[in-house]
């Protein structure tokens, strides 16, 4: 699928298109926020951090607000949690790895931009997710 059929779920969340996307946060008096707060200086957050804690979503979330193109039957569980970006903040995100047995607190994680649903017109909506850094799990 060509990039023209993809678009971010919301503007201003992450740099896109990009081979090395970054979350767009903001900073004020040393306090970082994500998503960026209006009237604060925008900053690009680090792409790598460490896994702070996680859980999984094993059933399809109430919809709306969830707008995945799946059904209760076709829903694929996903993992999510917090990644600590040193000196910046802890960010809550979905993970590309859905098996909790393959996630370890403290492991290094890196930002990705991934499709999570396809609209009726074929447009893929993109969101951010962290992936375990290969060969670096503890």
């Amino acid at each position: 699928m060509s990039a023209s059929n993809q678009k971010p779920v919301a503007e201003g969340l992450f740099t896109w298109p990009s081979d090395e996307p970054q979350l767009i946060g903001s900073e004020s008096s040393g306090r970082y926020s994500f998503p960026a707060r209006p009237n604060e200086n925008q900053v690009l957050l680090q792409r790598r951090g460490t896994l702070w804690g996680f859980t999984t979503q094993q059933f399809r979330p109430p919809s709306p607000p969830y707008d995945g193109d799946d059904t209760a039957e076709t829903f694929q569980p996903y993992a999510l949690g917090y990644v600590e970006l040193p000196g910046e903040l802890m960010v809550q995100a979905r993970f590309t790895e859905s098996d909790p047995a393959k996630l370890t607190i403290g492991q290094e994680m890196e930002l990705r931009v991934v499709p999570y649903t396809t609209r009726a017109d074929g447009t893929e909506l993109l969101t951010f997710a962290f992936a375990p850094v290969e060969g670096n799990s503890q």
């Binding site: 779920v9 919301a10 969340l13 946060g25 306090r31 970082y32 926020s33 994500f34 998503p35 702070w52 804690g53 996680f54 859980t55 999984t56 979503q57 094993q58 059933f59 979330p61 109430p62 709306p64 607000p65 969830y66 707008d67 995945g68 996903y78 993992a79 999510l80 949690g81 917090y82 600590e84 970006l85 040193p86 000196g87 910046e88 903040l89 802890m90 960010v91 809550q92 979905r94 909790p100 607190i105 999570y116 649903t117 909506l125 969101t127």
Partner: protein
Amino acid sequence: MTDVAIVGVGLHPFGRYGDKLCLEMGAEAAQAALADAGTEWSRVQSAYVGSYEVSNPDAIVGWLGLTGIPVRGVFNGCATGGTSLQMAAQAIRHGEADVAMAIGMDKHPRGAFSADPSVVGLPSWYGQTGMFLTTHFFGTKINRYMHDHGITAETLARVAAKNLANGAINPQAWRQKAVSVEEILNSAVVNYPLTRYMYCNPDEGAAALVLCRADLAGQFTSTPIYVRAAELRSRREGAFEVQSPSLPVQSAPSPTVDASRAAYEIAGVGPEDVDVAQLQDTDAGSEVIHMAENGFCGDGEQEKWIADGDTEIGGRLPVNTDGGLIANGEPIGASGLRQVYEIVLQLQGRAGQRQVPNNPRVGYTHLYGAPGASAVSILSR
């Protein structure tokens, strides 16, 4: 400062009641509390009525009587019941009323709470991408806590089994069937590491209290229970909280810790003085964490406490003797007042088959919930 006593308690058991109106359940709980105090609505001079689903909970006067008294609706997330108790006690302390009521009721649709993220000030994408669920907070917090403090999944299952076993001997509980530790561990995972039986569910029900100036308590009962403290705290910067797209790296204690410390200080007692407790058990992991956050044990000591049965009826600190949220469900507006109802019964020695055997003098209730609020009360004979 004027002392405040609880002189009557009432419960509309939690569960599912078809077409029955939420306000009707609230009115029945209120009438039960008035009957318990041997009095009538006409004596009540101020009331606080908590609900999430009923937009005008003060409409309960249509059922109880149009006496013209000030009646205030209360909503403060999962801390609503504790907030109603605190405000009713303050109305007495401030001299607005000699006799006041705290009433809570709710009637939730089935399944996980759902709403548009904008109602709590969060962006649409947070809901669209499947992140706007309070249960993610509970799964993530206990996952980290287990890692840091050596708590096992079996301990979580034992806590759920205890609360369901307590529910099985509580004729007013929603869930009255004991479930084995093994079955709880093997039931479907909802949010890793939490399984289906480790979670409470939203449901329906109501609870109510009659409170009065302590020097008037003898007019209503020979066994008043005194409100030694009723404290409410919101979150501080850095607290790990529900529905936070990001958090500071520098952490702060949960509002539970702040509410608990304030309550102990005001009551002039410590955790070692508490004989029976009700701790918010949205899930089994929450109860484990709340044992430490409320000062009853150190982080990690829960593993031994639970293995030794210390929080069972008959243990050193019975917790959630009526089955807690896990066996009763959570009608948000009423949940905290159910906790107080149970503690009052325990302190008065009328909790029936689930009565704790240690002749309890001091009881404790604790609520915690979105968006980061906690209410703690300390009650005593």
